[in-house]
Symmetry: C2
DNA sequence: ATTATTTCCGTTACCGTGCACGGAATTCAA
DNA sequence: TTGAATTCCGTGCACGGTAACGGAAATAAT
């Protein structure tokens, strides 16, 4: 930390023969400054290498900057609840920075609600934005809007084709499928496997588990080429239907012992699984939802692959803070985060 | 966020009939305050719920506080190198807070060097200290010294019996052994297992892997009661000796396929293992050292259990920051951190 | 009782920015 | 030319805390 090297607005005021008031006006371009003075100040800033003192600014303003968090609404026990929780956990440590994160949620099945959330977020004049994107095109459009406003934004969880984002934090989708397959087989040859899928995902053109499934299938292809992989489709909103579907399916395939879901919903299978116990069964799913972790503890689920959504959110906000407060760009634009393997022996310390 | 609710030191000065100066003195307990005044101020702080304004503080001080990090010297490729690395990674984000971490290292086999490091650290007048302790009694003594100086300290990795620490971040030792055993067996019955140990550890009265081994053995007892567990002792500084020891031992036990080390040195076995390949062997070790991870990638090591030493350091420093800057105590004093399971399929994203 | 110490404590000048207020300089209208 | 309306710009206080300085009060020394 420099001693007397720090350049203050007073320095550049003196250097230009103007006053700190004027300098402040150009810094926040709030007008009332002649063209000539504006130029002089800009030049001086450049020459002297002025950098604003964040603390002083924050102190004087005594008002936090808001960071907008744009995430799907968190139904209780859902994946997005974890993400929101991450925001809360970060908040404490980040508020010291003078940033106060604020949540803007939308219905993940309603694009209009997404637009609404975007609008509200913009009205809050955020200094930065974290986006958990679901609608590709709409997200791109919003990103463009942020850029034109000079507002930095970070993606978490998944990433559209946008290029202008400050950073991205998420799990590598293909590799997560690969890892999942390895955990399912336990590195052994297995006779057969079942992927349980959400019917709606198959029909929608943007199946969120697409890449993950590709990784899964490639692993099986390579390490268990003889092993047939079955698919079963269920409706997550119809528990009774799930039970019937599983009953029917397993009547036809009574010897299938390896079951996997590539999204966060493995808990949907738990009631059926616990009514039909089988010590030699292996069940693998994703994400550290409470229901999933409970099933893990009881031994119904063998293993979960988790991506620490809270951690993603934390890092996203921190990257923003670094940029907003210190103009520091993150080291890497795209950050693929660690995939955690949870078993009942380490889940309690997660 | 409160509007005008913020309590300043001026408020508590008025409330106690004292002045800013005095309040400031007790806040930084730099003496020159009568017992009575000290008490009054403390009570007012409590009653009014005063929270220091970090920006103002940072602005006024315009000089970083140093945080001392007391860790064993990092031989290249060793566990402690990871810990030190963690310090570097944290630094960036913490410097914004006006804290600058500074490393003080000691020779883990030389208690005098530890004392030296302690002394140097104290001379730097740190605002807080992170300790990775190895020498129990000596550490306790040092802790006492810090306490009398009013300097908060945090332990990482392991924890002496001290009670006065601000926080502790580490892996739960017993459970890590349990988890390790589960990964070694893969949840199956196995016919036999070998623990490779460091000879010096057995002889010293403070074997760092003691609890871990207890967890390991208890798991085996419970899930593989028939499985014999062998022990083999090696000298880490004698590679040729290791080779000979392994040669000799495996001549006698050619069918043992499950090998484990409960410290970070599994890489010591790699040369021998790769000269005697066996696809059906399972090898489990600890900690994400470069050499270990490389062996994992090549398939020589099946799985590593890692504790994210960098993360421990980060959290330790952050806990200190919270306390120093905002007088916030950590939520939990003892924090057992997540145990990460690394396989060759997720190691690349670690 | 007087002087010398020590212990405590209040005063005050910053730290670097934000912003309101009012005044000087310039332009426009008459 | 003069008064009014605009532009521009400087001054000064506020933000909450830090720490040096010096002085008052309490205690010890003479």
């Amino acid at each position: 930390m420099a001693k007397k090297e720090t350049i203050t607005i007073l320095d550049i005021a003196r250097h230009t023969g103007l006053s700190k008031g004027t300098v402040d006006r150009v810094l926040h371009n709030r007008g009332e400054v002649s063209k000539k003075s504006h130029e002089k100040v800009m030049r001086a800033i450049e020459e002297l290498g002025y950098e604003p003192n964040v603390y002083a600014s924050l102190l004087a303003r005594s008002q936090d900057l808001t960071v907008g968090l744009l995430v799907p609404a968190a139904e209780p026990g859902s994946f997005w609840e974890l993400v929101s929780a991450g925001a809360g956990k970060t908040a404490g440590s980040v508020e010291t920075f003078g940033l106060s994160p604020r949540l803007f949620t939308y219905d993940q099945y309603d694009i209009d609600s997404f637009r609404d959330a975007c609008r509200q977020l913009l009205e809050a004049r955020p200094a930065g934005v974290v986006i958990a994107p679901l609608f590709q095109e709409e997200t791109n459009r919003f990103a463009r809007e942020l850029e034109s406003g000079g507002i930095p934004y970070v993606f978490i969880d998944s990433k559209p084709d946008t290029i202008g984002h400050l950073a991205y934090f998420g799990m590598p989708p293909y590799q997560s499928g690969y890892l999942c397959a390895d955990q399912l087989t336990g590195g052994q040859d297995i006779p057969s496997a079942l992927i349980v899928r959400i019917r709606r995902d198959r029909d929608s053109r943007s199946d969120p588990t697409l890449n993950r499934r590709a990784g899964f299938m490639d692993y099986m292809e390579q390490y268990c080429p003889e092993c047939p992989v079955f698919h079963l489709f269920i409706d997550p909103n119809d528990p009774a239907g799930i039970d019937r579907a599983l009953d029917a399916w397993f009547r036809l395939h009574p010897d299938v012992r390896h079951i996997v879901m590539l999204n966060s919903r493995i808990h949907l299978l738990v009631p059926w699984l616990e009514r039909h116990p089988d010590r030699r069964r292996r069940v693998v799913g994703f994400d550290n939802l409470r229901a999933n972790m409970d099933a893990l503890r009881r031994g119904t689920v063998t293993c979960l692959i988790a991506q620490h959504p809270e951690e993603q959110m934390r890092q996203a906000i921190e990257a923003l803070a670094d940029y907003i407060l210190r103009k520091k760009l993150p080291e890497n634009k795209d950050n693929f985060m660690h995939m955690d393997i949870l078993t009942r022996f380490n889940v309690d310390y997660y």
